[in-house]
Amino acid sequence: MENLIALLQHNPLMPRADLACLLAMSEEDVNARIAQLEKEGVILGYQTVINREVWNPDTVTAVIEVKVTPERDGGFDRIASRISKFDEVQSCYLMSGGYDLLVLVEADNLRQVAAFVSEKLSTIEAVVSTATRFRLKTYKENGAFHHFETTAERLAVSP
């Protein structure tokens, strides 16, 4: 199962027949396992990793640290869920440390992010404070470019 997930994470487009060959399984078994992983919610979906430096490079990404007053029933869950529902929000995490929620926001320009923070996020009653930082450049995204480095500088034949 671990191998199947690793392969899909790296390339969800790999033909099922190739997956079967690499995993030494039948294609039917591979299909059944993937269906099971999807049903169990282990696999939530398949995404394309876009090079943001090339495609829509003017899009801005902001990382917002949000301090929140937790609620007596449910703690941070309800408020985090409320924030997550905004289309601008790409990811939302509960964090340890100096703030509570880390919110990753994507928008067409700075003004949109500012509007989101001032009009949507800050106005939520439980939100105590926000601190917004903008991404300047991407060096690594979701580990996508961090598969294995391989070297071509090897002897052509060695014992």
């Binding site: 690499l22 030494a24 294995f148 480095e149 391989t150 090897r154 052509a156 034949v157 060695s158 014992p159």
Partner: protein, 389 residues
């Protein structure tokens, strides 16, 4: 005058791989399945440890035996994988790759004329290393039908009055053969009964597949006293160029090996030793990831070879498929040279690894899957064309 060459050096035959290497080197765009080292770059955290070591100015000699901390790491690691405890200060020697450790061990134990047994097909250096130490190397043939394992009866039958040691290498380069626990125990039993020193080269021990754990013969009770356990960083951690290996053995033997090592090598590279500490102490996850990649490729290459009628017995260790090419009617040398010329893919003729490798070619899967895929397609075409003629 011409400088006379020592008899025992002159008598060592030229490596079977060298001519082939020259031809491959002279060609453009060859896909090589002939490479006996990982295609991965050393994991970054290990390289970073080497850089840090240089930044700190750690550029002097180390103790002849190796950095004490590295020897402690080795002792802990070997203890974990074999259950055998080696004293870091007296029973561990850090060498320049396993090859140096084998050479040093052989020189430390052999008197001229002493015999060393080894199973073949095998790594190309075993027989020459014995000859360099003025010993007599005697290969024991293994067979595809037995999974290229050394059978205890064959070992027993090969022991003669001058036999001093046996050299084992499981998982095996070039066949990928592995030993189960009972098989390793049976070989250890022969060593104990026939009073043989065991040199066990376990450089591929982390790379076993199908969830099969590696079992070392040194783990068998009574074996530690007569075993030189040889291992290193090259294969599991993709650190071939760092040149770090090690030998673990009884203190008097390590002391004897140290005499040779200190006068010929002095010590292994300090930078590499620092990198080796990082690898042993924090490298498990990297090894697991690389091993997973090898296992997937192994599944692919085994299926592809079997589909074209060249079975390789699905290797359970190392990163080589030893394909049986006998149905093509070609010798392994003819197969390799023609395949290279006609399809620009390099595989190593089995005869380079000993006479019982004839009829086989070694296909390394320490090469990217995309390259392996192209190589297998071309091999299938080649085999078809050979069989049609």
């Amino acid at each position: 005058m011409s400088i006379p060459i020592a008899d025992h050096i002159r008598d060592i035959p030229k490596s079977g791989i060298r001519d082939f290497f020259e031809i491959v080197q002279s060609m453009q765009d060859v896909i090589s399945l002939g490479i006996g080292e990982p295609d991965f770059v050393t994991p970054w955290h290990i390289r970073e440890a080497a850089i840090y070591s240089l930044e700190k100015g750690r550029t002097g000699y180390t103790s002849n035996l190796g950095l004490p901390r590295l020897r402690r790491s080795i002792s802990d690691y070997v203890g974990k994988i074999t259950g055998v405890r080696y004293e870091p200060l007296s029973e561990v020697l850090v060498s320049v790759g396993v090859s140096e450790a084998i050479d040093t061990a052989l020189r430390a134990i052999l008197n001229p004329g002493d015999e060393v047994l080894y199973h073949e097909p095998c790594y190309v250096s075993y027989s020459p290393s014995v000859a360099l130490a003025h010993g007599v190397a005697r290969g024991i043939r293994t067979r595809a039908e037995d999974g290229f394992k050394l059978l205890p009866a064959a070992l027993d039958a090969a022991v003669g009055p001058r036999t001093k040691a046996v050299l084992l290498n499981f998982p095996t380069n070039p066949t990928g053969a592995t030993l189960t626990r009972p098989e390793a125990e049976a070989l250890a039993e022969v060593c104990l009964r026939r009073n043989l020193v065991l040199l066990t080269d376990e450089i591929y021990s982390e790379l076993t597949y199908d969830d099969m754990p590696h079992f070392s013969p040194v783990s068998v009770p009574g074996m530690k006293d007569r075993t030189v356990f040889l291992h290193g960083m090259s294969k599991a951690y993709a650190m071939t160029g760092f040149r770090v290996g090690y030998a673990c053995g009884p203190a008097p033997l390590i002391e004897a090996m140290m005499k040779i090592h200190q006068y010929s090598i002095l010590c292994a590279s300090t930078t590499s030793q620092d990198a080796a500490i990082e690898a042993l102490e924090r490298g498990d996850a990297s090894v697991r990831r690389m091993k997973r990649e090898y296992e997937l490729r192994r599944n692919f290459i085994s299926a592809a070879l079997s589909d074209m009628g060249l079975p390789c017995g699905t290797p359970r260790g190392a990163f080589y498929a030893f394909a049986d090419i006998r149905l093509t009617g070609l010798t392994s040398t003819e197969f390799s040279h023609r395949f290279l010329r006609e399809k620009s893919v390099a595989v190593v003729p089995g005869c380079a690894f000993g006479p019982s490798g004839e009829g086989f070619v070694r296909c390394s899967f320490a090469t990217g899957l995309d390259q392996i895929t192209v190589a297998m397609t071309r091999m299938a075409e080649f085999v078809k064309s050979v069989r049609a003629t």
